[in-house]
């Protein structure tokens, strides 16, 4: 549902159905809402059967990459000859994205149940849930819920009397966007700086503590209990015609809309309906100018592109961007695109772990060139300079942080070039002092 707003008829609330109900936070409250049926069912199945069911559901990673979840789980060694680990990525930090926070705040047991099923399916010795340091409320709520799950037998040495052991530990981040990159997260759990690792080896071969590891996003794991209870066919059947994008997706909509919030829709819903019907359209008297549909790391869409797109992995790609985390930043005609692209570049420059030269230097230089333009000292040559920097930042580094910095810059120059030129030609007052 569109928390904090009432559910809209065009939504399909499954994960978000109980947002806003404080009672759903308790173990008993969650059980009364059908909770832990998925885990009970899973404990009666073999590991392979669970993985096959998740594969068949078509569930794809909701953190941004969209990798098939069941396939990811199947990469783990069949035999458990050394410790396996499950890691839940709750480091939600992608600008525009605030869905995992609501899952943890309102339905902590939904996540714990999903983590428990995944832990069992991959034969994990322990599940670490990595929660970003700034999420103080979700941390408190999750801490209480994990303790309660242990007390009620949903976690521990003998889960629901099945003889299966499932352990869960919450690990608190300390302020670093890059720790949302899965291998940086593994380093952070190990007590290291959050530098992404060179791959291969991939986590199923050598993950946290060098052991086979599976990492999934909060929303992905929260969907798993529902798939176990209601079946893969039900989940697949939720999509509107594209069998590659199944199920529901939480969309965080923020910025210049009348009803910002989280909405849960079936894949394939027209983006225009999401922007106008669910989120209520732009503020009175304004029109949309741009939409960044998948968190700040994806190319900016113009209003026309956004209004023609279908909301699923392929539909957004067809209109020149990516679904990403479905954190949607909506900008109306009052927005200074150059200033906001600079603000994004500054974000990436601040968050670069500084391992790779292209990223460390590229994000900082991009920020400075944009500052020059904003201070009225930009030149036509700066377009090429920014594009060269962006080219150097794309596909050349250990992780995709610098690619993410390049995406809004390149798409911004392509689609809003006249706004940059207005600063260069003095048609627009400088937005900052000369640097």
């Amino acid at each position: 549902m569109g928390y904090p707003h009432p559910s809209h008829p065009k939504e399909t609330p499954i994960l978000s159905r109980h947002f806003g109900e404080p009672e759903a936070r308790s173990f008993d409250g969650w059980v009364r809402r059908g909770g832990y049926e998925g885990l009970r069912k899973a404990l009666g199945m073999s590991r392979e059967e669970i993985i096959e069911q998740v594969k068949a559901s078509g569930l794809r990673g909701r953190g941004g990459a969209g990798f098939p979840t069941g396939l990811k789980w199947s990469f783990m060694p069949k035999e458990v000859t050394r410790p396996h680990y499950m890691v839940c990525n709750a480091d939600e930090s992608e600008p525009g994205t605030f869905k995992d926070r609501e899952i943890m705040r309102w339905t902590p047991h939904q996540l714990i149940e999903g983590c428990a099923i995944a832990s069992y399916a991959i034969g994990a010795e322990r599940c670490y849930i990595y929660i970003r340091g700034e999420f103080t409320d979700p941390w408190q709520i999750m801490s209480r819920a994990v303790a309660e799950a242990y007390a009620k037998g949903a976690l521990g040495n003998n889960v629901f009397g099945s003889g299966t052991r499932i352990d869960m530990v919450l690990h608190r981040g300390a302020g670093a966007y890059i720790c949302g990159e899965e291998t940086a997260m593994l380093n952070s759990i190990e007590g290291r700086r959050g530098n992404p690792r060179i791959k291969p080896p991939y986590p199923p071969v050598a993950g946290v503590f060098g052991m086979p590891t599976t990492i999934n996003n909060v929303e992905t794991l929260a969907a798993v209990p529902h798939i176990l209870v209601r079946g893969a066919d039900w989940y697949k059947g939720l999509c509107l015609g594209n069998p590659k994008s199944t199920g529901t997706k939480l969309i965080s909509i923020c910025g210049h809309v009348q009803r910002p919030g989280n909405y849960e829709v079936t894949m394939g819903t027209p983006l225009k309906e999401i922007l106008y019907d669910l989120a209520g359209g732009p503020p009175p008297g304004r029109t949309f100018k741009a939409v960044i549909p998948g968190g700040s790391s994806v190319p900016i869409m113009t209003r026309a592109e956004a209004e023609e797109a279908l909301f699923d992995y392929e539909g957004i790609v067809a209109k020149g961007s990516m679904l990403g985390s479905a954190g949607m930043i909506v900008m109306d005609d009052s927005t200074d695109m150059v200033y906001q692209i600079w603000r994004l570049a500054r974000f990436y420059a601040h968050e670069s772990c500084a391992q790779c030269t292209q990223c460390r230097e590229g994000t900082a230089w991009t920020t400075r060139v944009l500052e020059r333009i904003l201070s009225g000292k930009g030149k036509q040559d700066d377009f090429q300079l920014l594009l060269d920097l962006s080219d150097n930042m794309t596909g050349k580094t250990i992780c995709v942080l610098s690619d993410s910095c390049a995406a809004p810059v390149v798409s911004g120059i392509q689609k809003f070039r006249e706004e940059f030129e207005a600063y260069m030609e003095g048609a627009r007052e400088p937005a900052m002092a000369v640097v």
């Binding site: 981040g173 300390a174 952070s188 007590g191 906001q340």
Partner: protein, 171 residues
């Protein structure tokens, strides 16, 4: 490591953090990870909880209890933005100004914060020692612009008009 630190503020001898209940808590954490090193982030949180910031002598103590070197621990401390390596005001205020909040007026919230707290500039502590204000990158509550963190209190939908009323709750 010699006392003092980069800011010259550490003069009293270092009282160990990991004694009594805090030490017992650390020992409990050791059972949840296969290595002691993995307890580094939690241990640093415990130091900051107890002392308000993480001094060089505290870094040495953490290194000692976890079997690491002070230089290594310092490298980790400085990577993460939430660990304070120098003293901050009694209340630490973080205002999100990343793009989604920025387009909804977050910079005006920052200005109001700096004015109402008396901090004057970002990162500085108010003359009465009560507040420190910083800008923070995306707090992950973009639909509730502008979110702020005061100590561990997460406050949503802050506007410049609400700032002085909020601050009254933090003596």
């Amino acid at each position: 490591m010699s006392g003092g630190g980069g800011h010259g503020t550490q003069t009293a001898p270092h009282e160990p953090v990991f004694v009594g209940e805090t030490r017992a808590e650390l020992d409990r954490l050791f059972t949840q990870y296969p290595t002691k090193q993995a307890c580094l982030l939690p241990a640093l949180w415990m130091v900051q909880q107890a002392r308000g910031w993480i001094s060089d002598p505290a870094i040495s103590e953490v290194a000692q209890v976890l079997g690491l070197t002070p230089a290594y621990v310092k490298g980790v401390v400085t990577f993460y933005t939430m660990y304070h390596t120098h003293p901050v005001g009694r209340h630490f205020i973080q205002v999100c100004t990343t793009t989604p909040c920025n387009i909804c007026g977050a910079e005006d919230v920052v200005k109001a914060m700096l004015r109402e707290t008396g901090c004057g500039e970002l990162g500085a502590t108010s003359p009465d020692g009560r507040f420190t204000v910083i800008e923070v990158e995306c707090l992950g509550a973009c639909g509730f612009a502008t979110p702020i963190l005061i100590d561990d209190d997460f406050i949503e939908s802050v506007t410049p008009e609400k700032v002085s009323g909020i601050l009254q709750r933090y003596p």
